[in-house]
Symmetry: none
Subunit: 224 residues, 2 copies
């Protein structure tokens, strides 16, 4: 993790302020950029509007329960990985948490080192290879924000163009609804058509076929 590589962004939703403070500090030391919420409602708002690489969510939360929070995020097509923290460590709790959409479940009290290791495991997925994401015949260079064409030619992308293409390339063949691309790549206050515009920019730079439109549903890359 050298040059201008952006820090991983973490959303921390934990009502115990003391624990939240400690975790925030720990995460900061590890080089994460952390946003914190102390209840589910606030967590939902941040989760829907912000852009995060991982979320750490306490199971027991005021206003909106942790699992309910996950359900609402998933319902709004937020696919960010979630690690659930919980004092409830019974088998049924763990299974319930995972089946509610969590990607990992850590029982309190836990060791800081294990939390960090599990965060790394979750975060690794999105950085995968840390080099390039496949893009049909071409590839997306994650370090340099460039598309590498088969012949070796390189096309530089602007920040937003890159974020959009990376989001699409992370789950090729999946259909990405405009709404989720908009919340994941752009600020929530942007106009409705911002995604269209950037898809247009990508197509203008990379060719008509990089991004496929699925009428009424969203955009897709790497279609069969």
């Amino acid at each position: 993790m050298h040059d201008g590589a952006a820090k991983s962004r973490v959303l921390l939703v934990e009502d115990d302020r003391e624990l939240a403070g400690m975790l925030a500090e720990l995460l900061a030391d590890e080089g994460y950029e952390t946003d914190a919420a102390h209840d589910g409602q606030r967590g939902l708002h941040l989760g829907l509007t912000g852009r995060y690489d991982v979320m750490i969510i306490d199971r027991r939360l005021p206003v909106l329960d942790g699992l309910e929070l996950i359900a609402r995020l998933r319902a709004r097509a937020v696919t960010t990985r979630v690690l659930v923290l919980s004092a409830l460590g019974e088998l049924a709790d763990r299974v319930g948490g995972l089946d509610a959409g969590a990607d990992d479940y850590l029982v309190k009290p836990f060791e800081a080192e294990e939390l960090l290791a599990r965060l790394r495991a979750l975060g690794r997925r999105d950085m995968e290879g840390a080099e390039c994401l496949p893009l049909g015949a071409a590839a997306l260079d994650l370090q340099r924000h460039e598309v590498v064409l088969p012949r070796g030619e390189r096309i530089t992308l602007s920040g937003r163009e890159f974020e959009l293409l990376r989001t699409l390339a992370q789950r090729p063949k999946a259909i990405h609804p405009r709404a989720s691309l908009r919340t994941n790549v752009f600020a929530d206050s942007t106009g409705e058509s911002i995604v269209d515009t950037y898809v247009y920019y990508l197509r203008r730079k990379l060719g008509r076929d990089v991004v496929r439109t699925v009428h009424g549903l969203g955009y897709q890359i790497g279609a069969v």
Copy 2:
């Protein structure tokens, strides 16, 4: 879980044959398709040559250690999710396992239910987009609003076409009266013949035989 969707494929690398047998049975019951290896070398070979959705790897393996196995797979750009099983439950072991490239780490002895829940959490991401309804020899891809023909060819449906076909496919062989299709799929204010029109569109795209007319009663799919 509907049929028509392909089963998840699991690679199980475990040298304890008794445990391996039990797990294989458990996985089969859950609808996974399992390949088993009893040492790291064989696991590496299968992992490099086969296509799996998830791998379950014991940490202690003859010939080639579990973590070494993961390292070699990762070195060859195999990014399949890995769940490590281990009798070594110390903090340093867990952290080491996760940092070696495992996506989850479960300490023996473990509960079958938790293993399954964690497998589901790992597999969920790749299965996204794979849910289908059977449609005779073909299948209806619920995420992409496409009909997948036996040869793999895909035909995309518009929103209404998809809703209509899905409604029919949800209860194959049942006779769906026009009136109920109309209220379920279309606005109440639409004309009486809207269903006929959309059945016509479906038949035009998919062939005369997808939808059968039962004179005076309604439409039917998947007749014998």
